[in-house]
Amino acid sequence: MAKISFHKVMHSYMARPAGLEDYALKEINAVWQDGGAYALLGPSGCGKTTLLNIISGLLVPTQGRVLFNDTDVTEVPTTERHIAQVFQFPVVYDTMSVFDNLAFPLRNRGVPEVRVKQRVEEIAGMLDLDASLQRRASGLTMDGKQKISLGRGLVRDDVNVIMFDEPLTVIDPHLKWRLRSKLKELHQRLGLTMIYVTHDQTEALTFADQVVVMYEGTVVQVGTPVELFERPHHTFVGHFIGSPGMNVLPCEIVDGTVRFAGHAITTASAEKPGSDVREIEVGVRPEFVHFDEHGFPAEVVKVDDLGRYRIVEARVDGHRLKLIVEEGADIPSENPCISFDPAATWIYADGWVVN
């Protein structure tokens, strides 16, 4: 088990990167605690798999250092890093039985057969694979195969970190949550450091203690699911997390007051953006926009009833925004006015939050 640190890690797939835009990863500095459950969340192409491959040693970063505990492992080959990885598509050794599959990493490391048997049975028990130990691995279902991939990581005692690269992609929807809760349970039981790469916010938020949101090769925010929800550091986090995403609206600052479509609003940002900022926006989640007779006038465009709540699409001076109205609450039919909750309204300067 290990703490993982990144010191100015950058990576480019080009031989001679000219500028920052040639980098798939743009300077990552982070310390991930031993025994933590981390999720790397971001859209396709944001660099999360690159970061994962740097941790596993399949890629050597162009710049920077990676440390496991206090040992520099930047150049250490995969085999010596003591890591385990579960891939998007289950990897099983077709010709071997489930037992032999699970025993494979131990046998390769010369572990005595008595110990192999003991470990394999223990792990198979945890993964509910005991009944199929003697079957050929190729005959199992997708989720069974994915459990084998995971099991091959778990049988080893020397594993520093287990990494998951979108492991539920090929699993049937009704089995997804079962496998996900199994992962969560194993994490609590074994206390291993786990890193989970996904582009699905539900998976990330349910699995991880700390969610690392990545966007265009940069880590935009690291935080608990609650922090990401209440205080997105970047408009991207606001958009990407939450359903529907955060309202990001253009605004201007006139004489120290924030104005949106001509209406003065109060925000939680204490500081003011610098003068070199090109674009100032205000961000507020639909959960924190309310109908309020003291607010400013808006026009209701559309209402989606989702049962427990309704999503209302409104228009203020040509700007569209969404708000969430709880079940039972009224949507004013005449001259509706809305307001933003000041504690959850933030100013964003060129995409980044202003504190």
């Binding site: 990897v91 077709d94 494979f104 390769n108």
Partner: protein, 287 residues
């Protein structure tokens, strides 16, 4: 849905039926017809029952060419399959050299059989051929027109040269279809190169290798043109394989009955071996 009866649809099937009849059914039935009759010419036939089959199955000549055929096919399979896998494994998986290698590999496959035979004949002639003179210059007495061993060596070498590429291309296609994750997982599991080959590459190549072995078995078991042009079945009868012998009986001696019986036995052997082999290989496959 109501189905309408429309007998006109038969017209769509008709061309295929005609085609199959002419290229397979009628010739095969002609052979069956010959195999149970005797003729002295003038299109006069006498019923002979299974006499020709008994004769062929008890003939030393058939046994000898059958054994030669088995030996030849066995040899080329033992050489071409491992060699083909080996070459495929050492070919680059990406980069500009991929197409160069593929084209080089495909070249021998594009050369017609009789040209291959003629090429190797000229190439291996002991007095004038590059290979023949080269081997003799090394102090080894080599003359494929007179020594059975040299003739066999040359024939096998020619087949390996001509057909290993087929195994290479198929094995290579199999290798390319293995996702990177397998190799990464193997690295993480601490597997060595041998385990990777044995546990990942070979099982993943199983289907294409089955096809490769079947194709090579059938082609080599029915080989005719190349050894015919190279050695003419000689010296003596030492490289007279089944097809060559069959043609000698059918067209040389004009013994249509025995030749037809032999063709049918030959055909059944090929069919049986392919079926058994395929069934065995596919026994564990997922449905």
């Amino acid at each position: 849905m109501n189905k309408t009866t429309n007998q006109k649809a038969w017209w769509f099937v008709f061309p295929v039926v005609v085609l199959v009849a002419f290229n397979a059914l009628i010739p095969l039935m002609t052979v069956v017809n010959y195999s149970v009759q005797e003729t002295f010419g003038d299109n006069v036939f006498f019923w002979e029952g299974v006499k020709w089959f008994e004769q062929v199955l008890n003939s030393d000549r058939f046994h000898a060419s059958f054994l030669r055929q088995l030996a030849f096919t066995g040899m080329i399979l033992v050489i071409e399959v491992p060699l083909g896998i080996g070459v495929a494994l050492s070919m680059p998986r990406k980069g500009p050299w991929v197409s160069v290698c593929l084209v080089l590999m495909a070249l021998p496959l594009l050369i017609p059989w009789n040209v291959v035979g003629a090429m190797w004949n000229i190439f291996a002639l002991p007095d004038t051929g590059l290979l023949g003179r080269g081997i003799n210059a090394l102090g080894i007495d080599y003359n494929f027109t007179q020594q059975p061993v040299s003739a066999w060596l040359t024939t096998v070498l020619m087949d390996v040269w001509h057909w290993t590429s087929l195994v290479v291309l198929l094995a290579y296609a199999g290798l390319c279809s293995i996702p990177d994750a397998y190799y990464q997982a193997a690295k993480i599991d601490g597997a060595g190169a041998w385990s990777v080959f044995w546990r990942i590459q070979l099982p993943k190549m199983k289907r294409v290798l089955t096809i490769a072995i079947l194709l090579r078995f059938m082609d080599s078991f029915m080989i005719y043109t190349e050894p015919f042009v190279l050695t003419g079945g000689g010296p003596g009868n030492t490289t007279t394989f089944l097809s060559i012998d069959l043609v000698k009986i059918a067209l040389g001696q004009f013994d249509l009955g025995p030749a037809a019986a032999m063709s049918l036995i030959y055909f059944l052997v090929v069919l049986l071996v392919c079926w058994v082999f395929y069934t065995l290989m596919m026994r564990h496959e997922e449905k």
